[in-house]
């Protein structure tokens, strides 16, 4: 019953969030601020994780190919497919659920317990729309960009690992990267990313908005935002994969 009650509250909040913004100019300014807060500020961690995981995927693939019948270019191919199909869209989204989700929930939760949201409401502003909608829109746009960076840096990390360890030559790796490429896989990854971005920001916004009490409850909201987002990302990963790839 609790699940349905929460779902109902979430949907009612989303109804408030997706209304016409009070002032278009302010809304677009907020979106650009959120591009910075949610996207550009996350670029560093995305790049670091991507380079290292790309390197690990390449090394593990090379380690597992011990048959002389399989060409070493398969390392590049397998790394590319793993990165584009799963690592970048899903794993990076899980990382962003932690970084961005907790930030949004604690920011909005603190605004709630310090009566800043009440102040917005008294002024005649729709607080859900003003606070949550720019974050959702910004994340849905900027997260796919982050994922493209992630893909590029992960593939670079794989190349770096192959070259440094000498397990695969640069030529073999690049040949593998270029072989049997289907642009639809990138489209699939970006669609997934946008859905995950919506989940992260809307769930975190909901948790923050529902906060009542004080510092302890803000912490709880932040934790719930991350946990619920991660679970939903995993579930929707399966659903979207079934819908888009099979």
């Amino acid at each position: 019953m609790n699940f349905f009650s929460e779902l109902g509250k979430y949907l009612l909040l989303m109804k408030e969030v997706f209304t016409k913004p009070d002032k278009a100019r302010v809304f677009f300014r907020q979106i650009f601020i959120e591009f910075q807060n949610l996207g550009i500020d996350s670029l560093g961690i995305v790049i670091i994780i991507s380079v290292f995981v790309g390197a690990v995927v390449a090394i593990q693939t090379a380690y597992n190919i011990d048959s002389p019948l399989i060409p070493l270019s398969m390392v590049g191919f397998t790394t590319r497919q793993s990165i584009i199909l799963e690592f970048s869209p899903t794993m990076i989204s899980l990382v962003l659920a932690g970084k961005v989700g907790s930030r949004i929930a604690s920011e909005i939760g603190t605004m709630r317990v310090t009566e800043q949201i009440d102040a917005l409401e008294i002024m005649g502003i729709n607080p859900a729309n003003y606070l949550i909608q720019p974050k959702v829109v910004a994340a849905v746009i900027i997260n796919p960009v982050l994922i493209i960076f992630s893909m590029a840096f992960a593939l670079f990390g794989g190349w770096l690992a192959c070259v440094i360890t000498g397990m695969v030559t640069s030529t073999d790796y690049i040949t593998g990267l270029q072989g049997w490429f289907d642009g639809y896989t990138v489209f699939y990854a970006l669609i997934k990313t946008s859905v995950f971005a919506f989940i992260i920001t809307s769930v975190a916004g909901y948790q923050g908005y529902q906060t009542r009490g004080g510092a302890l409850e803000v912490g709880t909201a932040s934790t719930k935002a991350v946990v619920h987002s991660c679970i939903l990302i995993i579930i929707f990963n399966l659903i979207l994969t079934q819908l888009l790839l099979v």
């Binding site: 009070d22 302010v26 009440d118 002024m123 005649g124």
Partner: protein, 247 residues
């Protein structure tokens, strides 16, 4: 003028407000007083629409706020300014941006006119040159004054203050009280103040409503409150040894 007529409000089984009827006059500082838990904060939140009421009417100059559509309420809310207990300044904005915020959202002024209005409001609360400070750099009294400046930036017809001098030293509390009183008279605002500070009651209480266990128990002003024979009022007003001795 704001009128509350037979307001009832419950949370679950617990009835917090029972048939409260009270009028708040224009150009006066109207005080809602009462012990902690008596229902005065709930009454104020019902008046501004943060809580819905179970029954009754809330009239803003005859306009029934409780039965208005979202759009109509939004229009009324642009006539309302509110000073929250903790100030509720947006902590990611400077003082200037905080005061300018309602002007940006609802006004169609040029940037220069908005800046002029911000400077006027800051001057009115004696905080010239605080424009670029962040809320984290302000003292408790300054936060309250900036919050008052923000509340009056749109020339409100109604001003609500929730415990405006809580957490302040007596001198600053007095300054805030006098500031609210001056602004009320200067701009002919209907001001409603929620307080349990006896200094405020004696200093600025043009009209006083005493809420006791969710009911309107007594109405009067700063002159009559000290002379009333009502036992609950006397218990509240003369709660300390000092006030009893003074009486």
């Amino acid at each position: 003028m704001i009128e509350a007529k037979k307001i009832n409000k419950s949370f679950g089984e617990h009835q917090v407000l029972k048939d409260v009827s009270v009028a708040f006059k224009q150009g006066k500082t109207n005080l809602i007083i009462g012990q902690s838990g008596s229902g005065k904060t709930v009454l104020m939140k019902c008046l501004v629409g943060l809580y819905g009421i179970d029954s009754g009417e809330i009239l803003y100059n005859g306009r029934d706020f409780s039965r208005m559509s979202f759009r109509q309420k939004k229009a009324i809310r642009q006539e309302i300014g509110m000073l929250f207990q903790g100030g509720a300044l947006f902590d990611y904005m400077t003082v200037e941006e905080n005061i300018m915020f309602p002007l940006v959202m609802f006004g169609d002024m040029t940037l220069q006119k908005r800046k002029d209005r911000v400077n006027f409001c800051l001057q009115r609360v004696n905080l010239e040159n605080a424009n670029k400070l962040m809320p984290s750099e302000l003292s408790g009294g300054m936060i309250k004054r900036v919050a008052i400046a923000r509340a009056i930036s749109l020339n409100p017809s109604y001003l609500f203050c929730d415990e405006p001098n809580s957490g302040l030293d007596p001198q600053t509390a007095n300054l805030i009280d006098n500031l609210i009183s001056e602004i009320t008279k200067e701009f002919q605002i209907t001001t409603v103040i929620n307080t349990h500070d006896m200094n405020s009651v004696v200093e600025i209480g043009d009209n006083i409503a005493f809420i006791y266990k969710g009911e309107l128990w007594w109405e009067g002003n700063k002159n009559t409150i000290l002379k009333t024979e009502n036992p609950e009022i006397n218990e509240f007003v003369f709660a300390s040894e000092l006030t009893r001795k003074l009486k």
